[in-house]
């Protein structure tokens, strides 16, 4: 059974992180409500696994990366969708994949040579540290 403190901590982290991205309370609500089972099932605090994918100032989705597994929740009409899990046979999101593939580009490897040996979670974390074009697709 997941400890009550972990659940409370996760909800608090979500509220904090989403609020930092200027998400409205309604939209944060939609994320929690649409993904309550997922959040309740998390054994560890998700603070370090949450990323926001933007196109310019427009939030595209929230990305949750755990080692080589990742999930995303799309942001549309000021609401977050149910979390979608990456599954090469069922689900695939071009924009999410495109961002993940930034890590394979030569220019990124020149800046962060160690990125090739990282898992997806570390890659996303590394991409977040690079000053990517804020008018285009980038990670926060």
């Amino acid at each position: 059974m997941i400890a009550r403190e972990t659940i409370n901590k996760n909800i608090k982290e979500i509220l904090k992180h989403f609020a930092e991205q200027n998400c409205t309370l309604d939209s944060i609500h939609s994320f929690i409500l649409n993904n309550l089972d997922f959040i309740l099932g998390l054994e560890n605090c998700i603070r370090d696994n949450l990323y926001f994918i933007y196109n310019g100032d427009n939030l595209y989705c929230v990305l949750l990366a755990f080692e080589d597994t990742y999930y995303w929740s799309l942001y549309e009409n000021e609401k977050f969708s149910c979390i979608i899990s990456e599954d090469k046979n069922l689900n695939y999101d071009y924009i999410v994949e495109m961002i993940l593939h930034f890590a394979d580009a030569e220019k990124i490897k020149r800046i962060s040579p160690q990125i090739t040996s990282m898992n997806i979670e570390q890659k996303i974390h590394e991409l977040k540290k690079i000053r990517l074009n804020y008018d285009g697709y980038h990670v926060k």
């Binding site: 649409n34 196109n55 310019g56 100032d57 427009n58 595209y60 799309l74 549309e76 009409n77 969708s81 149910c82 979608i84 599954d87 090469k88 046979n89 069922l90 689900n91 695939y92 999101d93 071009y94 924009i95 495109m98 961002i99 930034f102 580009a105 030569e106 220019k107 990124i108 020149r110 800046i111 962060s112 991409l127 690079i130 000053r131 990517l132 074009n133 804020y134 008018d135 285009g136 697709y137 980038h138």
Partner: protein, 377 residues
């Protein structure tokens, strides 16, 4: 753009003059400078420079001496045709040659690429939260509405989605998709689709074969949408092939063979290898597995047959300008572009581009005249 910099823009010098920064070819160090942002998207685009309140993208160009002309002349051709296009200048960063282009975005504006439009469209097709992308693609109604060929279903999901984006990458399907796009008002829809029609014709005329859904888009600011300028014409004018130098040599040989043997089809064989990737409809797909599409002149033929009278007039108007102001004045245009960028087109590149454009224009002219005659009859 960069009017106070004559000739090719030397970025090393610019960084020193403007920001007091001395380059040492360390991209990591450069990317930490406050005036630089790295471009993650695209294999070639490298970094953005924040320069005097505007942003400029540096994109290295492989086989620069050949391929740079697609971008530089493409911009000029678009300007003559009255089609809004991103602005380009030749640039040099530490010996890497490429182009610098001014951002097409105004403050707080976002460029939504065709790929994002397609992905959002796919997401919107979900009938319930549990439905997957695979469910959508396998849905009979979806397949019928968007004329998805049965061959798709045998592919992996990753390939299905790749092919699907290629399949949807045409004016008719994009119109269907944009109609359903969030907050798309009728005027924006009209302006965007009119511009996409112009891009389609522009690509046919200039033999642009790389208008994949990351090479077109719409701009959005406060939910107001408008067309994005044409950008990334690097592979137009028959350029952009992996071994372009070899292609130039082969073309020259075939050109003289064609003249000697009076077999112009030898030249057209070269031209017909170039297929626009953004076409009129899915009917222009020749082969699903290889994603092969009709060649440019054939797409024009199809377009003329299926267009309404206003669109036919627009094609005529664009072609007349293309022929009289671009083909007939090619040398003058080239001279102007050469002078602005302090470049000189190599003879074999000139031979290739000028002859391909001339022969291509003749074929387009024949199609248009044939069509005009059949309408008169």
């Amino acid at each position: 753009m960069f009017d106070d910099y004559k000739g090719m823009i030397q970025l090393q010098q610019l960084f020193k003059d403007e920001y007091g920064y001395s380059c040492n070819d360390d991209l990591r160090e450069l990317s930490n400078q406050s005036f630089i942002e790295l471009e993650g998207n695209g294999a070639d685009a490298m970094f953005w420079i924040n320069y005097r309140g505007k942003k400029y993208l540096f994109k290295p160009i492989k086989d620069f001496e050949c391929n740079v002309w697609g971008e530089l002349l493409g911009e000029k051709f678009a300007s003559i045709l009255g089609i809004p296009c991103a602005k380009y200048r030749a640039a040099n960063y530490m010996g890497t040659l490429g182009v610098l282009s001014e951002s097409i975005l105004e403050d707080d504006e976002t460029l939504i690429l065709g790929s994002e439009i397609f992905q959002k469209f796919l997401n919107s097709q979900k009938r319930d939260a549990k439905e997957t992308i695979k469910d959508i693609i396998n849905n009979y109604e979806f397949q019928t509405t968007y004329k998805i060929p049965s061959e798709f279903l045998t592919l992996s999901l990753h390939d299905q989605q790749r092919y699907l984006f290629n399949h949807l990458n045409n004016l008719n399907q994009v119109k269907l998709i944009l109609k359903q796009y969030k907050n798309m008002d009728p005027q924006a829809f009209f302006d965007i689709t009119k511009h996409l029609f112009d891009i389609l014709v522009f690509d046919i005329f200039t033999l642009q074969g790389d208008r994949h859904p990351n090479n077109w888009g719409i701009k959005e600011k406060n939910q107001i949408k408008r067309p994005a300028e044409v950008f990334d014409n690097c592979t137009s004018l028959g350029l952009g092939y992996i071994d372009i130098s070899k292609r130039l040599v082969l073309f020259r040989e075939e050109y003289f063979n064609a003249k000697m043997l009076r077999e112009p089809e030898r030249i057209y064989h070269f031209i017909h290898q170039i297929e626009p990737s953004f076409t009129l409809s899915e009917d222009n797909i020749v082969e699903v597995a290889t994603r092969k599409k009709d060649y440019a002149a054939k797409v024009l033929d199809d377009l003329l047959q299926k267009s309404n009278p206003d669109e036919q007039d627009r094609i005529n108007e664009l072609y007349t300008t293309f022929n009289s102001e671009i083909i007939d004045k090619f040398d003058d245009i080239l001279k102007e572009v050469e002078d602005t960028n302090d470049l000189k087109m190599r003879d074999e590149v000139y031979f290739y581009i000028s002859n391909i454009l001339q022969m291509h224009s003749l074929e387009l002219g024949d199609i248009i005249s044939k069509y005009r005659r059949s309408k008169l009859l």
